[in-house]
Point group: C2
Chain length 196, copies 2
């Protein structure tokens, strides 16, 4: 393993990951401007200036995390059509997946990024391109399938889904304080919104 190896030094990567995970926890709750580098350092248990040995700036960490979040979201949606079961089963699985601890933080981060005026330009572009509309486009066929099967109520699929996604968003915001998995058992209640 020479130093020209594209795979970086393991301990370097480990440190970077540690800082990124700490940053995600703070960014997801406090947003970009509400997060001070000192908070990330404290959360990671390192000194204030060390993050800059691994990342150029606060915005670089934020952007990197947004990219990861979008990839994770897209991956979760891509897996959906292959899942077994009825459309109801798939939407249920999708909901449970979003409420899962790790995805929850990513989702909150995307929410923060979406509202923030001071987000880096690249983040704004990525969000606009992939976040809301893409998710709708990919979920819509599943919903339509369910409508045709009589599992879901009639109505504009995109509007229904936007309503449903908003609802999940609200739950995750509250859930930030709640114990892990607190809302999982309420998924079927949520899905009543889509049914009739």
């Amino acid at each position: 393993m020479s130093s020209q190896e594209p795979i970086a030094d393991p301990s370097l990567d480990a440190r970077k990951e540690q800082i990124k995970r700490a940053a995600l926890r703070v960014f997801a709750e406090q947003g970009l401007s509400g997060t001070k580098m000192s908070m990330i350092a404290a959360e990671a248990g390192i000194s204030q200036g060390l993050s800059y040995r691994y990342f150029k700036s606060k915005e670089e960490i934020f952007t990197l995390l947004v990219e990861e979040a979008l990839e994770a979201a897209q991956a979760a949606i891509d897996r959906l059509p292959d899942l077994p079961g009825t459309p109801t089963d798939r939407i249920r699985a999708f909901t449970a997946n979003m409420l899962d601890a790790s995805h929850k933080r990513y989702f909150l981060l995307l929410q923060q990024a979406q509202k923030s005026e001071e987000a880096p330009e690249r983040v704004k572009q990525l969000i606009e391109r992939y976040s809301a509309q893409e998710t709708l486009n990919r979920l819509a066929p599943i919903l339509v399938q369910g409508q045709q099967a009589g599992e879901f109520c009639e109505g504009d699929p995109e509007r229904l889904l936007l309503l449903y996604l908003s609802v999940i968003t609200g739950l995750m915001l509250q859930d930030a304080n709640a114990p892990e998995g607190y809302w999982l058992q309420e998924i079927d209640r949520l899905m009543k919104i889509l049914q009739n």
Copy 2:
């Protein structure tokens, strides 16, 4: 009308109100740290330093707005038991009221204040005291009434309400971009969560 009159100079009050309303619009979307005094000034159409003739600090404006928001929320809830109609009608009215433009901004402000670590101490106290638990306590009787009448599904009233309030929160976050009243017609869909 002497200058010792507790009612201040009308034009002074008008200016203060103008700045506060501008600040509310920005705070509700960008949070405390995401809002720069220059943004409030721009939103109000005044110069950068003028706000300090009317308020001591950014935090003072924020705190004042949080107090107003809590009063408005409490007033809205206090009126509920006197409303005519079934418990379903009352919850529907409550929901519509929250989604109304002016209350929406107050509600988003409270959300921002609740999550923010850098909120003034007084704000944290007020929020903890009045916001979540108080709302639940006052709404719970109406829900229980509806459960006894068979309008709502069974289950822990506080948990059900927390779920429902979370859902409204999510809707308001999305709604920030949507046209006024966009979600009003979906209220009955939302209320399916509480029904059976």
